[in-house]
Amino acid sequence: MPTYNLKVNGKLHTVEVESDTPLLWVLRDHIDLVGTKFGCGIAQCGACTVHIDGVATRSCVTTVSRLQGSEIVTIEGLSENGNHPVQAAWKEIDVPQCGYCQAGQIMTASAFLENNPNPNKSEIRSAMKDNLCRCASYNSIEKAIEVAASKIK
């Protein structure tokens, strides 16, 4: 079986997996980082979103063989103490209900704000439309992104 060196949250991990294995399952089953969630497996729900070289990416359809040399950041590595402005805003607004999709929401939102630190409502709604929340916490997510944007300023 091939071996891959992955840089996840600043740390180097060597994993021995089949070349077609999605990053999602490498993270969850092999590196024990389970914050990145499985929802659909076909890049439709966003629960598995991570940052690859700063870009919000669906880890469920990103195979491990493409990731040598990439900087991968997961929810566990978004901030040192869970205090990234987006995480702080999520806490302030008390966004989660079941909480399962929220790591993916936070990863999408943080990458979005990186590129557009001062978004309007319609930009937020459009940027977040690919992340499903089955509990429908959408109003709170929208509000939390506005709060996060004001924290970043």
Binding site: T21, V34, I75, L132, C135, A136, Y138
Partner: protein
């Protein structure tokens, strides 16, 4: 005023205390029953598995440092009870919220009492006993301090974890007297706080798991791992009505990481002969092929590589067939009458006019974002089960029968759940995990793919309603509701919801259509569509009578006030209260020209709700801009959590009414993942404006009741905008297909 569904609560002692060997006090209590005289909580808290949830279904530990830990095995599915229930204890114990720590405790399966999340009942059942427990502990701490000071307990008061000697002004922390308090008698009677003195209840408190959620800590069933654990994927029949005939696993076995391929099903089949479990076993009793692997990905790949041959064992049904059967039954079927008042036949034959309308819904999958999964480790000594389940005790009980093992051997731990919506009331995946681990004698995690989850579900069944109203002298004199539903029906109490009691001649009939497609509870069972149909009908009825739709409801509610009919579930006064609040807050009838409004009011799950939807037509499509919600759920324990539940319920209901549909062709579900099944997304979401009726009445649940009315509020708004009445779910089918793409 009539109180709906008053919770009966025994005042006999339900609390026992003991002194912990390590210092501090352990209070065991039972939320639902009195404790037996001879039971006491353990003296030492060595390990959570030693807490006995037979005699006590929750525990509170007060440490010598004054910190409070609440051990509760109550499952959390996102409805917030893990936050709101401890708030009740902390309020009466009178401690700073920051000093409270909540730990999800495992379930001891020895003759356990009811522990489940479902029916929005957790908070109403817990309201009185949890506060009594907190107040009792506080009184014991006060008594201990009074003894220390040599003063009367009435000369002491306690607040925010500090006891004050009112004579000398001295103070003691709870931790300073907790060892002494633990040895005292449990007081017979304690006084609960006046609601106006609440300082935790009614204050917004963050979800207690918030830090773990936002940093991605392991919390959910899918996150659970054990040393030596293997992964399993289950191949089930692709169509309802099929069973496994044979399979070839040679390709699967060559896949890297695949350890074994086994079949299961025999044990469930045997159990089905003895027990009525059909409702909790999805896709029948076929044998299933299980791929065991050392990673999830290998198990998924292995499952795809199995070549199976399936045989038809019962008719393969399609959606057209379901629709025809429902229509047949509604028009000619035999009905069971749940309630009949007066003489409906007479009222209809004397009528000047009769309004008759039918409404039809579709199958819906639950689509919990965390797919079904469970961990099992079956050994000769014990059965360890871990995962997300709304009915731990029932599932553990079934596993004991399935594997013919003693209940005492089973140790079930509940994890946080990535959504429930009714799906996790059914333990099919628990039985599968147990049967697999029993077969391979290894710790195993069974995981469904999204496709497995959506296509082998236990679905919300399609229902058809026919509403008829007789009108005489421009008054509603009779009302007849007929329900035809696949593998399910209204519960008897639903026939006592509005407009029962409000219309003299009233009849509620139900009939069932049988199908081999498994159907079951889905968030707000039955009412999730019944409310939409009924409140759309009332909108049309008001139009027929040329009466304002709000006024029609108010007139009918007048007839129920002061009723002596004990069966009536709702309060006309509380319904009127939410109507007035919704009308006021929504600027009903005073919106800009391009905004169209629709109204609906509904009582279910002990909670009264009115909703107004504001829509705008954009490029020929209805866009819901805002939904105003007025809720009477009694005391609002945690406004932050309550707001989340209300908003979530409304948007969930809206999304499913607009887009939700699972069709079948020859027994095969025609959607299998989120590319072929539309869930509502943020860019389609209205702003939900929530208003609670101020109340001192005991709280009722919020997980479900705001979902049912939204469909009608939206349908009625769409009618106001377009003149088009909507009789079928999903509503977007009435508009151009491009609208579905969004």
């Amino acid at each position: 005023m009539k109180k709906s569904n008053q919770i009966q609560f025994s005042r006999r002692a339900f609390i026992r205390t003991s002194a912990l060997a390590s210092g501090g006090m352990l209070i065991g209590f039972n939320l639902f029953t009195a404790c037996k005289d001879d039971v006491v909580p353990p003296k030492e808290l060595i390990d959570l598995s030693q807490l006995n949830y037979n005699d006590f279904n929750a525990y509170i530990k007060i440490s010598p440092e004054g910190k409070v830990t609440i051990f509760s095995p109550n499952p959390e599915i996102g409805q917030g009870v893990k936050t709101s229930m401890p708030m009740l204890v902390a309020e009466e114990l009178d401690i700073p919220w920051e000093d409270v720590y909540v730990q999800q405790a495992p379930l001891d399966t020895k003759n356990f009492k009811r522990q489940m999340a479902g029916g929005s009942r957790s908070i109403s059942l817990a309201w009185e006993p949890l506060r009594q427990t907190g107040a009792t502990a506080k009184q014991m701490l006060i008594n201990a301090a009074a003894t220390k000071w040599g003063v009367d307990a009435t000369d002491c008061s306690a607040k925010q974890g500090l006891i004050t000697n009112k004579v000398s002004g001295e103070t003691l922390g709870y931790g300073d007297v907790v060892n002494e308090a633990a040895t005292l008698e449990v007081p017979e009677k304690v006084t609960l706080k006046d609601p106006k003195d609440f300082n935790i209840i009614g204050q917004g408190k963050n979800n207690v798991d918030i830090d773990e959620i936002i940093t991605g800590k392991p919390l959910f069933g899918l996150d659970y791992k054990e040393e030596g654990m293997v992964y399993a994927c289950v191949l089930r029949p692709p169509a309802f009505g099929q069973e496994l005939e044979s399979f070839d696993d040679s390709a699967a076995r060559t896949i890297e990481g695949v350890i074994d391929v086994v079949t299961i099903g025999e044990k469930v089949r045997e159990l089905l002969k003895k027990e009525d479990l059909h409702w909790s076993v999805n896709i029948g009793s076929s044998d299933k092929v299980v791929v065991i692997a050392n990673s999830t990905w290998s198990a998924f790949k292995g499952k795809k590589a199995i070549k199976a041959i399936w045989k038809n064992t019962s008719p393969l049904e399609s959606s057209e067939y379901h629709s025809q059967e429902l229509a047949k039954v509604i028009d000619s079927g035999d009905f069971n009458t749940l309630r009949e008042d007066g003489d409906v036949k007479q009222a209809f034959s004397n009528a000047d006019n009769i309004l008759e309308r039918t409404y039809e819904s579709t199958f819906l999958p639950h689509n919990c974002l965390e797919p079904m999964n469970f961990f099992a480790n079956v050994t000769d000594d014990k059965i360890h089960l871990v995962g997300p389940i709304q009915t731990p005790e029932g599932s553990a009980d079934t596993v004991s029968k399935l594997l013919d093992r003693n209940k005492e051997d089973i140790y079930l731990e509940m994890t946080r759940m990535g959504g429930g919506f009714g799906r996790r009331l059914y333990g099919d995946f628990v039985y599968e995990a147990a049967e697999i681990s029993d077969a391979i004698r290894k710790p195993v995690k069974v995981i469904s793919s999204r496709e497995d989850d959506m296509t082998t579900g236990i679905y919300r069944p399609p229902t058809k309603y026919k509403f008829s109203a007789s009108i005489k002298d421009n008054k509603v004199t009779g009302y007849h509701l007929k329900e035809a539903c696949i593998n399910g029906n209204s519960w008897p109490q639903m026939s006592n919801f509005f407009p029962a009691g409000a219309i003299e001649n009233y009849k509620y009939d139900i009939a069932q259509v049988n199908s081999n497609i498994t159907a079951g509870a889905w968030r707000a069972p039955i009412t999730n569509f019944l409310a939409s149909a009924e409140q759309s009908f009332f909108d049309e009825l008001a139009e027929e009578l040329k009466i304002d739709r709000i006024q029609l409801h108010k007139d009918l509610l007048q007839n129920v006030k002061g009723t002596t009919d004990e069966r009536i579930q709702y309060s006309p006064e509380r319904l009127e209260g939410v109507i007035d609040l919704a009308v006021d807050k929504s600027n009903w009838g005073k919106t800009p020209e391009d905004i169209y409004q629709g109204f609906a009011v509904y009582y279910c799950h002990n909670t009264h709700v009115a909703e107004v939807a504001d829509i705008k037509m954009e490029n020929g499509y209805p866009v819901v801009k805002k939904v105003t919600v007025a809720v009477d759920c009694g005391v609002v324990v945690n406004p932050l959590g309550a707001q989340n539940q209300v908003v979530g319920g409304v948007i969930d209901g809206l999304g499913h009414m607009m887009y939700g549909e699972l069709t079948f062709k020859d027994g095969v579900p025609q959607s299998s993942n989120f590319n072929s099944y539309q869930l509502i997304r943020m860019n389609q979401t209205p702003y939900v404006d929530v208003h609670f009726v101020k109340s001192d009445i005991a709280p009722t649940g919020l997980g479900e009741p705001t979902l049912p009315p939204v469909g009608a509020a939206v349908a009625n708004a769409i009618y106001a905008a377009t003149g088009q009445r909507l009789y079928k779910q999903p509503f977007m089918k009435y508009f151009k297909p491009e609208a579905l793409k969004a």
